[in-house]
Symmetry: C2
Subunit: 110 residues, 2 copies
DNA sequence: TCGTCATATCGCGAATCGTCAATATGAGAA
DNA sequence: TTCTCATATTGACGATTCGCGATATGACGA
């Protein structure tokens, strides 16, 4: 018995949302920075696994609050990050498993 | 002595043009179909290495002539395909070498 | 030199994107 | 309940994209 996917299948729509999300330098930057949550100045070590909160991401990105929130929503809908609500904060972290099988799928396009 | 790149470097601008080019189902389809030039109905075996001409691509895509030409130009500027003019025809083929090192670069983003 | 064919470029309207300020929602604190 | 903070949603508006038809360019054949 095994887990995960042999051959990840993404719908055209899913693929579209992924490429759209990535065709913006700010959103790509978020994704790269989220690889290392501790690289955010105010990140607490105990929250590393749950992710980084929107305000911290916003400050580092230098974008407006609403823009930051929207971009994170896009990344989430594209399946690139996962959001977890805890108290009044929403933490975002990369969805590494999904990103991995996405990279696998890209071999079909590339 | 070796050839190629250890660590492919793409500028932010180049990456942007790549993701923009791919964030359109029609352009992605072109790229996939171009993997096998002989899959185009009127493709001649002797032209396989040089690519497929615009008209053949257009017919298969079902897009307008100008749209097809523009999309191919985008794919070329993104470094995903190469154009070769021969007589009145322009043949397009995938730039496999560049696509390969692009896929390598994506590991940094993903 | 003409006419024709293959391709590229231009110009367009409709749709979407980029980003913001303003406002709404929702959860703790008082 | 009421205030405040973190986040999400809405509305706006210029910039860009989508795909087209019309037109320009460029190469060949007559």
């Amino acid at each position: 018995m095994r887990m995960g996917y042999d051959h990840a299948v993404f719908s055209e729509e899913q693929l579209l949302s992924v490429f759209r999300a990535l065709s913006n330098p700010a959103r790509r930057q978020m994704l790269v920075w989220l690889k290392d949550p501790m690289s955010f100045p105010d990140q607490k070590a105990e929250d590393v696994e749950i992710g980084v909160c929107v305000t911290d991401i916003q400050r580092r990105m230098g974008l407006g609050q609403s823009t930051t929130s929207q971009y994170l929503t896009m990344l989430r809908q594209a399946g690139l990050v996962v959001a977890t609500r805890r108290g009044k904060w929403t933490y975002y972290r990369r969805d590494e498993a999904n990103i991995a099988r996405l990279l696998e799928t890209l071999r079909d396009v590339f």
